[in-house]
Amino acid sequence: MRLELKGVTKRFPGVVANDAIDLTVEAGEVHGLLGENGAGKSTLMNILYGLYRADEGQVLIDGQQVHFSDPGDAIAAGIGMVHQHFMLVPVFTVAENILLGKEPIDRFRRFDRRAAHEEVERLAETFGLPVDPSAVVEDLPVGLQQRVEILKALSRDARLLILDEPTAVLTPQEADGLFASIRGFQAAGRSVIFISHKLREHRDIADRITVLRRGRAVGTVDATAAEPQELAQLMVGRPVDLVVDRSPARPSEPVLTVEGLEVLAADGQRLVDSVDLTVHRGEILAIAGVEGNGQTPLVEAITGLLPIGGGRVLLGEEDLTGRSRKEILRSGVGHIPEDRTMHGLVGSFSVADNLVLNLWDDERFAARRTRRFDEVRSHARRVVKDFDVRTPSIATPASSLSGGNQQKVIVAREFDRPIRVLVAAQPTRGVDVGSIEYIHRQLVAKRDAGVGVLLVSSELDEVIALADRVAVMFRGRLIGPFPTPVAKEALGLMMAGVPAEEAMRGLAA
């Protein structure tokens, strides 16, 4: 199928999300869509999928103009979408999910399980994507869930597949598997729109890449000819330094020690399984791993958000186990939480208030528990300048800042107070390239100032760029740490559960 978008424009109150975008996807082409968060990728795809209506412009399929008023129309026209957050019912089986909306029924209007299973098996075989039709989706690993989502689109005879950030939840090996499937569709004459903010992936899989910036298509380039530097510059609009500049670490004494840490779920499952680790002053210890392998409970246990099921957490010589969250923060632990809107900020509070969220009753900002607003404001004005937070004013609610600037507010808050250890979870998630660059530099600067940094990230590139030592978390257990450099492929294998020696050896051979 050949898809053309001509002059597609979509305005929201106050912003032009898509500004006269032209895009052509040829039959059998894998077309990459690259852009930062908020560049308009999602809006454009939602228009294509019938979730939004464009204010101006045309959508043409094989030369014919089409109008989609809901996803049903788009599906009928042969467009399939694999959402970043899967559109799967977790408690349903694979077959029920794939065939929802077009279920086979028997004479008694019963859901015909046997016919459904046959249908799914036939599909799986046709596309070389094996699945168990009777498995319940929530029991499947994320990679398989994605496969179900793809099969669901294919079962509706999709000739153009939109993949929205498909690799975000996959191990590198699973991503390779996905890329192989994509090449399979391509060979069958189907088209793919591949959305990602990772430059490398676009160069691996796309034929052509269109870059969006602030709602405009700023260029379409041949993937083979594209230089990463050039793409990054197109995406951000100015030259970007992709390599983090840093000197070798000079670690000294241990500052954060975790011994035999366990976190248990209500059903007794070990979310964190006897983890030992030590972070020294002046080093960055990174923990890689596919999300959901216990990194979140590990971070939350160390920072006092979750009760500790067993083991100890020491800050220097001081035992933090069982201390309140406030005591832990005040004793010198900085925390950049992975979900800034949930744990990091109060969206409706001003930037100034968010900057003292964990210090509001500190002597500097409160006298006898009454807040000193002048101090809060002058503090905010200074910090906003020091940390380059782009905000209209310090009274602006945090929720109206961009993701990158929200993250800078948190970074500023944690970095501006005296800390000995920094626990940074996914510190650059959903943040624009410019801010990523900034946050990375700040992390390294903090390290050089003698802070111990524990970095948890599911972005392998970030881990490799920053880590002095690296460990992998898999099913609640910690593998490593190993001194860097460690080959990316070896980390990928460990993230998939391959034992460390085997992962390292497999590469040497």
Binding site: N46, L51, Y52, D70, P71, G72, I75, M81, F86, M87, L88, V89, P90, V91, F92, E96, N97, L100, G101, K102, E103, I105, F108, R109, R110, F111, K152, R156, E262, V263, L264, A265, A266, D267, G268, L271, P297, L306, P307, I308, G309, G310
Partner: protein, 418 residues
């Protein structure tokens, strides 16, 4: 996604507490109930005095010996819990112990008297009717993603309308239709508020309960008080089923009932099948679990929810009709006495399945029936306390059993298209 996290010993400590409670129950039996006067007997009648084909002899048991045995059994359950923890099934063990304790109460209360076991159990089944219908209404609505706490209001509206229609038209059948229509009307209002206007679902439910209470009370004092002809409904009478009603024990308990009891049993089976085996049910549940997923494959989320809520309202309307077409001879203010909330508890305890909900409804019905039975016996307990039994049991069961409930993922969340 939120993962419930507990500290290591919490589960074990919880189980130890359960075991301790069980042991206390076991100890309470001889302490409270053994009267020392040996030789007391209790008589349990296993026949209905309505001409069954097969007659069973009365069950005559020595009170003291039975109490000792029951006490020993309860203690054994407690000891077993201490010695060999059963983990997730711990609440079941406590439930079993509680059941034995209830039997002990019954035996003790029957000392020197006679209780008809048939009447007790038949009463339990009968009393479970509104709770089961109300719970099914909740299951249907919440499986589709709309919280329905207005069941109490639907009961009142159904009971009132059924009474008036059955009085004026002189037919219980028309009364039932009226009750269904009234329940459906509240359902339409709930759907309108929560789906169309996306109002808070809990607040909407409360508002509708207040509305139904106010309107029915007002109309009762203004209209029915001076017009008794409008409040003397023709009621459903007991309709023994041929052949089946001749079965010993079961026949007397289950098959010599009224129409709504049979309808309840049929509806539970139909709904269980429809929700979990048919295409209709699959789609309805998908809307309650992940509406965006349902929407993208062309299922009309709002319409599905609307229908589920209104259909639920009709079921609750049937439950409401029971009050005036079967249980009492006329409508009186606030006669539903909070059973709509007990129905909600039954839905939770039954884990959002019709069969589970009816099982829980039977438990509450039993508590109701037991309270009635005990009131007739020479028991040194105030009758107000006995009447509180169903509510106390509700509290205990909900606190103890609900535990880790799997709620439909989108329950209570309005669906907003982006």
């Amino acid at each position: 996604m939120s993962t419930q996290v507990v500290s290591a010993g919490a589960a074990r400590r919880r189980e130890r507490r359960f075991a301790l409670f069980t042991l206390l129950l076991g100890a309470a039996v001889p302490l409270l109930f053994l009267r020392g006067a040996t030789g007391g007997i209790a008589t349990f009648v296993l026949n209905d005095a309505r001409g069954e084909r097969f007659l069973l002899p009365d069950l005559v048991i020595p009170v003291d010996l039975t109490l000792v045995l029951l006490s020993a059994a309860i203690v054994a359950v407690g000891v077993l819990q201490l010695v060999r923890p059963v983990g997730r099934r711990a609440p079941l063990a406590v439930g079993a112990a509680g059941g034995l304790f209830v039997v002990a109460v019954l035996v003790w209360a029957t000392t020197g008297a006679s209780v008809s076991l048939v009447a007790l159990l038949r009463g339990a089944l009968f009393a479970s009717v509104p709770i089961a219908f109300g719970a099914m209404a909740g299951v249907l609505s919440e499986r589709a993603g709309v919280i329905n706490i207005a069941i109490e209001g639907q009961f009142l509206a159904g009971a009132f309308t059924a009474a008036v229609v059955a009085s004026v038209l002189g037919s219980a059948w028309f009364g039932l239709l009226g009750g269904i229509a009234a329940g459906a009307l509240i359902g339409v209002m709930l759907a309108g508020l929560t789906i169309r206007f996306q109002a808070d679902q809990i607040v909407s439910g409360v508002v509708l309960i207040v509305l139904a209470t106010g309107v029915t009370s007002f109309l009762t004092s203004q209209l029915l008080a001076s017009n008794t002809a409008w409040n003397s409904p023709v009621r459903f009478i007991a309709a023994p089923l041929p052949l089946l009603s001749d079965l010993p024990l079961i026949g007397s308990i289950v098959f010599r009932q009224t129409f709504l009891v049979y309808l309840m049993i049929v509806m539970v089976i139909v709904l269980q099948f429809a929700l979990f085996r048919t295409r209709w049910g699959l789609r309805l549940r998908s809307v309650g679990e992940h509406p965006a997923a349902a929407d993208t494959v062309g299922i009309d989320v709002l319409r599905t929810r609307y229908r589920a809520v209104v259909l639920g309202g009709m079921l609750a309307g049937i439950g409401g009709s029971w009050f005036t077409l079967e249980a009492a001879s006329q409508f009186s203010k606030e006669m539903t006495g909070g059973r709509g909330f007990i129905a909600l508890a039954a839905m939770l305890v039954g884990r959002y399945s019709p069969v589970g909900a009816m099982s829980a409804a039977l438990l509450f019905g039993f508590a109701d029936s037991l309270a009635t039975t005990l009131q007739r016996l020479p028991v040194p307990l105030p009758s107000t306390l006995l009447r509180a039994t169903p509510y106390v049991i509700t509290l205990l069961v909900v606190a103890g059993l609900v535990g880790r409930l799997r709620v439909p993922a989108a329950d209570g969340k309005p669906y907003v298209k982006q």
